[in-house]
Symmetry: C2
Subunit: 164 residues, 2 copies
């Protein structure tokens, strides 16, 4: 599947990657979560070429992750997260927690997020079943159905896990 | 910051993006979570050019996300997730849930994962504080410290959110 075809895939991960599946876009969204709204501020923080930044911001607006807030006279245009965009913070939180756990030596400087009320970091994310049990990759099977159908109507998808 | 410099960033999201920040890599990891292990199977499922797939698999081995399981005679080499790799399932779960919520019309075919024991989907991920309160992007501040330091030792990082 070519990257441009991912947007029509039945897999929600493929579709997500079509909208946000490159490093620049994910950096833009991280900074937007921290309140960055202006082109010059994204540019300064991410250090990305202006033509790339322009293209990424346009795409994020086109797919409804960012929206343009028209500026007061004399100010520059602002890009703010939509509800769909704000919902993406869970993906970035998961990426942050994975990086914190696996990609730092003890003496390296690391940025973290804290709850502004308490000064404490959020809990580790965990994928759990309805009964509260923690789920691992081996616990899961892949099924397919129409998006609006109940899960009971879903058909198995053939994966090596299912055959094992 | 150039993409190749992200691996030395103080931000865990940057470092994560250095290792896994492209769509092909994330598709490989999704399929690895479902039990795919062989080059030919990744190739068939993702439909990526073999030179790209080779480079991505080599990188994932080099950074310790996949490891090579030497084959029995006559079989092809297998790529299996390390513990670091398996931990990445939370990121893919977050991406999947976001895509399921925002990127499908009701009548479109969608793949989902279910708990093999119960047939039910996992709970929605949620970022919570130590006291159980759900955290939104606006609730968070960014701080910086050495990775091994307690959170109380962390210094504020200047962001628009902090100034607001």
């Amino acid at each position: 599947m070519k990257l441009r075809e991912l947007g029509g895939s039945a897999c929600p991960i493929d579709r997500s990657l079509y909208e946000v599946g490159d490093a620049w876009t994910l950096q833009i969204l991280r900074d937007a979560m921290h309140g960055v709204t202006r082109f010059t501020d994204f540019n300064k923080r991410i250090g990305v070429a202006t033509n790339i930044l322009t293209a990424r911001l346009q795409k994020l607006v086109a797919v409804g992750i960012l929206e343009i807030r028209e500026p007061m006279a004399g100010n520059s245009r602002e890009y703010v997260l939509t509800e769909k965009g704000r919902d993406f913070h869970l993906v970035l939180s998961a990426l942050r927690q994975w990086g914190q756990k696996h990609l730092f030596e003890d003496d390296e400087l690391m940025t973290r997020v804290i709850d502004a009320r308490t000064g404490q970091p959020p809990r580790q994310l965990s994928l759990t079943a309805e009964d509260g049990m923690e789920l691992t990759p081996e616990d899961m099977l892949v099924v397919k159905s129409r998006a609006a159908d109940p899960i009971e109507a879903a058909e198995p998808v053939d994966t090596p896990r299912r055959r094992a």
